[in-house]
Symmetry: C2
Subunit: 285 residues, 2 copies
């Protein structure tokens, strides 16, 4: 598959002095991720009439950033998780020091990839600058890093729906929106298209998180590759905990509807994005 | 001073949901660093005839990357240091989880700053792409992150001079070289100039490290803001340990000479770079 091959090409194992850090970085990068962010990015490029191959380095960079965030979130000082996607977490295999560095390495490599000749030879530099800025802001303290700070602060606390939404909009939503928008920018979408796709991404990002929370209650460990019930055990606020499972499912449905609605101006080029919205509604892991 | 003001402007404290992460990021960013990398970067811009103010966002990004690396290196799972520049380390003040995130936030913010309008409105995008790529490679697994991996692996081991040099070239040298080269690129230096300044940076980077090792033996805790002898206590390989203090000092002198030699093609515009080489030779902290 396109994304897997590209990830393998952009971060291949090497012999010699970098072998141990590459091994740790690759362990988590190839640990069975769904590749949601690169798939969304490439689908957005297609939706605005671009060639999806052009966006491959951007998609791979997004997956590296996502993977780094999982490695750091799992650390003993953070969520202290032993299992991720059915496998021992990075620090369980390589130790905490190496896991911190593997995360640092993936985050940094993402920005190296965003300035890779494969991109700079095909996409105007001004457009790439905008993509890099968008992704850096979405990943940083105003986005994903900020969301993880809120998550830590909220754990064990009673919070309201607004706080929960703010947290998720930062922790997972921001990078999902950046994935879709950057794909649209690479595909030379106009501002109206980029905004519409941003709205689509906001809605599926929220739906994705609500479904995630529901799976933590209803899913089996085989389906999820981790033990269900971990949110409750860690006293994390979730949508079903705040709203009940039934109401949470209704809101997730509503989000999917709004996401599909946002795609109205697009014709069949946006079919992959529509299918992704349906996949998020039905996913079991 | 130019760099301090710019850092304050680019990462100012805010009230509201980002206040706690900003506090942790700013704690280490404003903990008395020497600002060597931004100063080198700006001086290189001047050396090739550019305006040093243009390079300010790049210099600040470099300082953020340097600061993130110090926060992560000090973590309990890494060097487990309690003091840095005479102050408690980030994790001692904010806890390990927050220190990891403060580091992640600074690293990510650096790339946001490298695509800041202050830069994109003044410097051609192609030139900035080259700077971002250079800095990402120098900070990542082929540079600084890789060097920290080697440092962890070598601690407590007997290593030879070649291994020690490889480690330092990655851990500190790569970012120093990137600082100088990126300044030269921003200042529109030609390839010959960029290469000459790269050689200058390689030499002062090595000298800086050797002097650092010597200060760890000869310095006082007041001068250094940390306890001397920590390398020995941590069983770290150092230049004076491998070569003796006298020979290590001779090599540092030789590096400074070579650095000054590399500046020969430049006239008085390179005076700040020459002065920096002398500062490194004489520094006491």
């Amino acid at each position: 598959m396109l994304v897997e091959e590209a990830l393998e090409r952009y971060l291949s194992q090497q012999e010699g002095i970098y072998s141990s850090i590459l091994e740790a970085m690759r362990y988590s990068l190839f640990a069975g991720g769904k590749r949601l962010r690169p798939i969304l990015c490439l689908a957005a490029t297609e939706a605005v009439g671009g060639k999806k191959e052009t966006a491959l380095p951007v998609g791979c960079a997004l997956e590296m950033i996502h993977t780094y965030s999982l490695i750091h979130d799992d650390l003993p000082a953070m969520d202290n998780d032993d299992l991720r996607r059915g496998k021992p977490t990075n620090h369980k295999v390589f130790g905490t020091a190496m896991a911190i560095l593997a995360g640092d390495g993936l985050l940094t490599e993402a920005f190296s990839l965003l300035t890779h000749p494969d991109l700079t030879q095909q996409v105007p530099a001004e457009r790439l600058m905008r993509v890099i800025h968008l992704i850096a802001e979405a990943a940083g303290y105003k986005g994903m890093v900020g969301g993880q700070v809120m998550d830590l602060k909220f754990t064990g606390q009673e919070i309201d729906l607004e706080a929960l939404e703010t947290m998720h909009r930062h922790k997972t939503g921001a990078l999902i929106v950046a994935s879709v928008k950057s794909g649209a920018i690479i595909g030379e979408g106009n501002e109206t298209e980029i905004e519409a796709l941003g709205e689509y991404a906001t809605q599926i990002g929220l739906a994705f998180q609500i479904v995630d929370d529901i799976l933590d209650i209803e899913g089996t460990s085989e389906e999820m590759g981790k033990n269900p019930g971990s949110d409750k055990a860690q006293q994390k606020a979730t949508y079903p905990a705040l709203l009940g499972v039934k109401r949470a499912k209704e809101i997730a449905e509503k989000c999917i509807e709004k996401a599909i609605e946002a795609l109205k101006p697009f014709e069949e080029e946006a079919e992959p994005l529509r299918a992704l919205a349906q996949y998020i509604r039905k996913r079991r892991r």
